[in-house]
């Protein structure tokens, strides 16, 4: 297996190609522009469509058109562009058009800056724009995982006929790591619903309007049923969690920093462990609840003022104290900072069982 050294943005692009993406629409924005630039070079070679749209609003609606026409379609952006896509995402959800949306988060609010952040968690996980729709949300923490989740994202999008978001951050997009690229797949997809020109058959319609409240309610319930089904897609990673008294919950790049802090804490004899949600919606609530049930405290680490912490609190339901440590505005947490938070937590709730110092599990 050859390993390539790639940037997160490029690795996602390449994986999308291998997942059979047929159309990419987007609008430049830092820190993800390598992704469209990669697509501009490669997608046409694969017989696909690359189009730089006039705006994110246009781009997401082009995705609607292409996705609705039955091909794997994709878009990528960062915070401000993601905001502009909210109406379009709501339409995609409502009309059940699959697609993959990448948001490489940066410092906000407003124009903010282009440094890594995780401040779009709420926007990505709580609602696909207005109305009751949701995105499925995947959060890679390594470039390899970015590849793997890109494939998964396309599959989930097809399976649930719903947009799937890959929620990364500027750092993941810009960093290079060795990756084993997935083998190209020829996706087997059911697109009997797609508008491809009716041929001799009955005409098909992609739409999200239903003036009859009862009918729209039934549709909304159908969407909620899908989200309930999607619970089976829940993914997370445990790291040194079995005997952890201090459970860190963190995703994406913050989780990697936390992992190093966990190692350092263990080296110092503290029983820290890490639970890393990989799917943010559906959220691994049960896993968090279970880990919290065995712990003395939960520590949520985010690059935001505190967003995922709400989902953690919802899962923990007051069983143990949930602490929060966040940096924002593009500042990235570092291992020593997280270690300090672990130490503080340990001091507050009792150090617990001393674990053997050193050694990486």
């Amino acid at each position: 297996m050859t390993r390539a050294l790639m940037k997160g943005n490029e690795a996602i692009a390449e994986s999308a190609l291998r997942a059979g993406v047929r159309a990419y629409f987007g609008y430049p924005i830092t820190p993800q522009s390598e992704l469209p630039e990669y697509m501009a070079r490669r997608l046409p070679e694969h017989g696909g469509v690359f189009l730089q749209a006039e705006s994110e609003v246009a781009a997401i609606n082009m995705v609607y058109g292409a996705g609705g026409a039955g091909v794997r379609a994709m878009i990528s952006t960062s915070g401000p562009g993601f905001s502009l896509m909210q109406e379009g995402l709501s339409y995609l959800v409502g009309a059940e058009v699959p697609c993959v949306v990448v948001d490489m988060m940066r410092g906000g609010p407003g124009l903010g800056n282009i440094a890594p952040a995780q401040g779009d968690y709420f926007q990505a996980t709580k609602s696909a724009g207005h109305g009751d729709g949701r995105l499925l949300v995947l959060a890679p923490s390594t470039v390899q995982e970015a590849c793997d989740l890109t494939l998964l994202a396309f599959d989930l999008a097809d399976r649930y006929r719903n947009p799937v978001a890959i929620l990364g951050d500027g750092l993941l997009g810009q960093m290079m790591e060795p990756v084993v690229l997935p083998d190209p797949v020829t996706p087997v997809r059911d697109t009997a619903w797609a508008t491809t020109g009716a041929g001799r058959g009955p005409a098909r319609v992609i739409t999200s309007i239903d003036l009859e409240p009862e009918a729209l309610e039934a549709h909304d319930r159908h969407l909620q049923d899908k989200y309930r089904c999607a619970q089976r897609e829940v993914r997370w990673e445990s790291y040194r969690l079995d005997d952890a008294g201090i459970v860190i919950v963190a995703y994406g790049i913050a989780a990697r920093v936390a992992r190093t802090a966990v190692d350092r804490a263990r080296a110092g004899g503290l029983d820290a462990g890490l639970l890393r949600p990989i799917t943010l919606f559906p959220f691994p609530s049960q896993a968090v609840r279970d880990a919290a049930g065995r712990a003395r405290a939960v520590l949520v680490v985010e690059l935001s003022a505190g967003q995922m912490v709400e989902d953690v609190r919802l899962a923990v339901e007051g069983r143990v104290p949930v602490r929060f440590y966040g940096r924002c505005g593009g500042v990235v947490v570092t291992p020593p900072e997280v270690l300090e938070q672990i130490e503080k937590a340990a001091a507050d709730v009792g150090a617990g069982r001393r674990v053997q110092a050193g050694g990486t599990s």
Partner: protein, 191 residues
């Protein structure tokens, strides 16, 4: 520990990111895990460029490093910024051509390399970054010299073979200089 983290810092245009990238590619060739993290954004234009590389035998956790084991500083502002952050017992490699002061801490190892004239002597002062890379390999063999050579040859495939050769020569020069030069202060060993 089986993980080494280092930061390369200097002006934009000094080949900071390239130094880090060759190191990372060498690590990949050796089957190691590695993360390469650029500073990106507005600093790119004219300002400071930094690059963080973590190399490990096992899965790397944080690609973000607050307290690096090694820093390679290519100019004075970078020394000012990163000297305080190096881990005690760590290593500071200085491009003496662009840094007009020496290290103040006494708990780190220091190597000073007058890289620019050395590189200029090899044909291009801009290869100072490769000289520094060589010096790094001398003081802390985080990857093998062979792997670096292969990484450079991969990066400059046959039509560009002369460039590969020139860069490899610069690395070799740095290596020699680094091996000749005993670290100036070494209150502790290991990186």
């Amino acid at each position: 520990m089986a993980t080494t983290d280092l930061i390369v810092a200097g002006f934009g245009g000094q080949g900071i990111l390239f130094l880090g990238e060759i190191l990372a590619r060498a690590a990949v060739l050796e089957g190691k895990d590695v993360t390469w993290l650029p500073s990106y954004g507005p600093e790119q234009r004219g300002g400071t460029a930094t690059c963080t590389v973590v190399i490990g035998d096992e899965t790397i956790g944080s690609p973000v490093v607050a307290d690096p084991a090694i820093v390679i500083v290519m100019n004075r502002p970078s020394l000012d910024k990163f000297e305080p952050r190096v881990r005690p017992g760590g290593l500071v490699i200085i491009n003496a051509s662009m840094v007009d002061r020496s290290v103040r801490r006494s708990d780190v190892r220091v190597i000073e390399v007058d890289a620019m004239p050395q590189a200029a002597a090899l044909g291009d002062a801009r290869m100072a970054n490769m000289v520094m890379l060589g010096a790094l390999l001398a003081a802390a063999p985080v990857v093998s010299v062979e792997a670096v050579g292969r990484a450079l040859r991969d990066h400059f495939p046959p039509p560009h073979a002369p460039q590969a050769a020139a860069n490899i020569a610069a690395v070799a020069r740095g290596l020699t200089l680094g091996l000749r030069r005993e670290p100036k202060r070494a209150s502790s060993i290991g990186a």
